[in-house]
């Protein structure tokens, strides 16, 4: 009997709220624009990224909960 396949998942990226490019979670300075990724900028607010990001965070939390509930 062969052991089941096992894999890993990618690290999580979040949007820099200044330039709306992806950065690794926890970055203090955006490597793309040099700004604070947590401070919402004009484009982030105007283009409606805040609710999108909120939904993504909720999705990830539910996904993690579902993934590890069986372990």
């Amino acid at each position: 009997m062969t052991a089941p396949a096992r894999g890993r998942a990618p690290s999580t990226l979040v949007l820099c709220r200044q330039c709306v490019e992806y950065v690794f979670e926890g970055e203090a300075v955006c490597p793309h624009c040099g700004g604070d990724p947590c401070q919402a900028g004009a484009r982030y607010l105007a283009a409606g990224y805040a609710p999108i990001e909120a939904m993504n965070r909720l999705d990830r939390a539910l996904d993690r909960r579902a993934a590890f509930a069986a372990d």
Binding site: A5, G7, R8, L15, Y22, A66, A70
Partner: protein, 396 residues
């Protein structure tokens, strides 16, 4: 056709358990088109394609492994006489079933039978406006046939999407093409860069150059916005990326960011003779994992070395600019097929918008140059050299 529903979305658990959520299955290499960019050099069927009984057994094995969608492709899938039997069997096994087609000679009666058999979506290839499409597809009238089939899908209530290969000549046509597709009632438009494999190596003048992404990506962003107004969702294929200023636009709202190539982790590819791969498009000689005729799929999936390369998400395979990229750990060189087909080795992908922009900051761009032709077998690759050069003043 959309993969946005929770059932079809690849979850964290799927990634950890390597569930083959998506199966893309070439059920025959027989084809009624002669596409200049065909990576599998389709036309004649393979010498020993799986029998109906063998296919039904494969469907059962895939369902047991946890597959949730099987997409039937060719060649041209419907030239296989038992294709409706396979559609029915996929649905009876509890999986979704879709099909990709060139649509040439796919009659309204066949479509109606497919819908009755349980086919849930049809992806129709349209690679440009009529003269360009017919030229690339190698058969006059194939453009009109594709539009006819889209219209028939609308009449039947079958969800239709359009797949477009982005070649060097189609870029100026994309805005008009999008209006045609929206008028025809398609709901999804998946765009994909033509990859240097098979017939596309023979006709390498149709390939985009990596630096063309500086023009293409802003154009796609504009088309994405226009598509939303027309109820047509532009979806980026696996080799459209990566990151850069527009990734949040088309990957962000529903699925977050590009997660790296899923071949062999959450995708299975099958060739018509039973050869298993991590992705249907990968070069058989480097990524073929043996035949389902000889070994149970579960055993191949769990242990064959040709399927393992993405599962640990390591960065040891990366080279060139991809090795030192900020996104290396997540992206891992993007689409394995695109990079491997160019260089005979995965892990360095010049068709990346982030990379193009980073190089442009230094006044540099990359282009690919063919140095070796591809063999005449399905999924054969040639060899390309990567040239780094100053951006010409006229292009700045």
């Amino acid at each position: 056709m959309s993969d946005d529903s929770p059932r079809l979305r690849v979850s964290l658990r799927d990634q950890l358990d390597c569930v083959p959520v998506y199966v893309v299955w070439e059920i025959t290499l027989g084809c009624n088109l002669k596409c200049l960019h065909c990576g599998s050099r389709a036309g004649h069927k393979r010498a020993a394609e799986l029998t109906t009984a063998e296919c039904l057994d494969v469907i059962g094995q895939l369902a047991e492994l946890g597959a949730r969608e099987i997409s039937l492709i060719g060649g041209e899938a419907f030239v296989r006489k038992d294709w409706l039997t396979l559609v029915r069997a996929v649905r009876a096994a509890g999986m979704d079933c879709t099909m990709q087609t060139g649509a040439y000679k796919l009659s309204a009666a066949m479509l109606e039978a497919a819908a009755e058999a349980g086919l849930q979506g049809l992806g129709v290839s349209i690679d440009g406006l009529q003269p360009l499409h017919d030229h690339l597809r190698g058969v006059p009238g194939s453009y009109a046939e594709a539009l006819r089939v889209l219209d028939a899908c609308r009449s039947l209530g079958l969800i239709a999407s359009v797949n477009t290969q982005i070649t060097a000549t189609v870029m100026p046509q994309l805005p008009t093409l999008m209006e045609v597709i929206a008028d025809a009632g398609a709901k999804y438009w998946q765009v994909q860069l033509t990859v240097a494999m098979g017939n596309a190596v023979d006709h390498d003048e149709i390939l985009l150059q990596p630096y063309d992404l500086a023009t293409l990506m802003p154009l796609l962003a504009r088309l994405h916005a226009r598509g939303l107004q027309r109820d047509l969702l532009l979806l980026p294929g696996n080799n459209i990326g990566y990151f850069g200023p527009y990734d949040a636009l088309w990957r962000g709202p529903d699925r977050g960011h590009y997660p790296g190539c899923p071949a062999g982790q959450n995708v299975i590819g099958l060739e018509a003779d039973g050869t298993l791969k991590g992705c249907p498009s990968l070069a058989t000689e480097r990524y073929g994992a043996g035949s389902v005729r000889d070994t149970p799929i579960a055993e191949l999936w769990a242990s064959h070395p040709a399927l393992q390369f993405n599962r640990e998400r390591g960065v040891a395979d990366l080279w060139g600019h991809c090795a030192s990229c900020y996104y290396a750990e997540v992206c891992r060189g993007g689409c394995t097929w695109t990079a491997d087909s160019l260089f005979g080795r995965r892990g360095n992908n010049p068709y990346c918008h982030h990379r193009v922009l980073k190089l442009a900051e230094r006044g540099v761009r990359e282009r690919v140059v063919k140095v070796e032709e591809a063999g005449d077998t399905p999924f054969a690759t040639g060899l390309f050299a990567l040239v780094e050069e100053p951006i010409p003043a006229a292009a700045r």
